[in-house]
């Protein structure tokens, strides 16, 4: 004769998957901080990928044993994956260059200043050196 305790799934079933998923999902954020600290300038697509992997692992855990915590864990991982993917896609995309600066043309006239206040113009770029001109987004 079966008893209730033998019919109930073991509490540990899928627990490893659950923890793997919960740890994997936010790992991309930690890796991104490490990436920035190392000065590696690439888009961290691995962050939403890891969150998706985490969500899949938690979902597998949930399919083995349904609990409220596993449902919440899955929702958290899925929401994190969605947010990271959306944020990267929306906030980091840069429109293609459509200006008039192009290879073979003279660089246009301008007037700016060096850090010590010395004027810098297009003529300043001519001389005995080639120039790599980089526009960056400033102090922040």
């Amino acid at each position: 004769m079966n008893t209730t305790s033998t019919l109930a799934p073991p509490r540990s079933r899928g627990r490893l998957l659950l923890w793997l998923g919960v740890v994997t999902a936010p790992a991309g954020l930690i890796l991104y901080v490490a990436q920035m600290s190392a000065g590696i300038l690439t888009t961290p697509w691995y962050a939403p990928a890891l969150a998706v992997l985490g969500a899949v692992l938690v979902l597998m855990s949930l399919l083995r044993r349904g609990t409220v915590w596993r449902v919440l864990g899955f929702l958290f991982c899925a929401a994190l994956a969605g947010f990271e993917g959306w944020a990267l896609q929306s906030y980091t995309s840069l429109p293609a260059y459509t200006g008039s600066v192009a290879a073979g043309r003279p660089f246009p006239e301008f007037s700016a200043s060096l850090a010590d206040g010395t004027p810098l113009t297009r003529a300043s770029l001519e001389g005995d050196k080639d120039t790599v001109l980089i526009f960056f987004r400033g102090w922040w």
């Binding site: 920035m36 000065g39 300038l41 690439t42 888009t43 961290p44 990267l88 906030y91 980091t92 995309s93 840069l94 429109p95 293609a96 260059y97 459509t98 200006g99 008039s100 600066v101 192009a102 290879a103 073979g104 043309r105 003279p106 660089f107 246009p108 006239e109 301008f110 007037s111 700016a112 200043s113 060096l114 850090a115 010590d116 206040g117 810098l120 297009r122 003529a123 770029l125 001519e126 001389g127 005995d128 050196k129 080639d130 120039t131 790599v132 001109l133 980089i134 526009f135 960056f136 987004r137 400033g138 102090w139 922040w140």
Partner: protein
């Protein structure tokens, strides 16, 4: 700023090819002076009046995530010693930049050996 740090670290490689690295932002002179002290081998440019960024047409809806101010989109331009543009690069994403090795490779391709 990570980009500038990488370029500063490799300044000798650029100097060996007779290339100056000019880094421009819309910062005012005071902020540019602070940045220049951090990266003494680069040539920092204050373009608060947006003359340079406007001429290069790199100002756009690229707002600072900090205060929403207008910024110049990250762009790299190779200009030869006659003032002619040789190459322009705009990444697809804000977080991406050319590495110093990539810039040096493009410089070698477009400028030759620098002599």
């Amino acid at each position: 700023m990570a980009e500038l740090g990488q370029l500063e670290t490799r300044h000798a490689d650029f100097a060996a090819r007779n290339i100056r690295v000019v880094a421009a932002s819309l910062d005012n002179l005071e902020e540019t002076g602070k940045t220049q002290r951090k990266f003494p081998h680069l040539t920092l440019v204050s373009d608060a009046g947006r003359s340079l960024a406007g001429a290069a047409e790199v100002i756009g809806p690229h707002h600072s995530p900090v205060d929403g101010s207008i910024t110049a989109a990250p762009t790299t331009v190779l200009i030869d010693r006659r003032g002619q543009v040789r190459w322009l690069f705009r990444p697809d994403r804000y977080l991406e930049r050319l590495s110093p090795d990539e810039v040096l490779a493009k410089a070698a391709e477009h400028f030759g050996d620098g002599r």
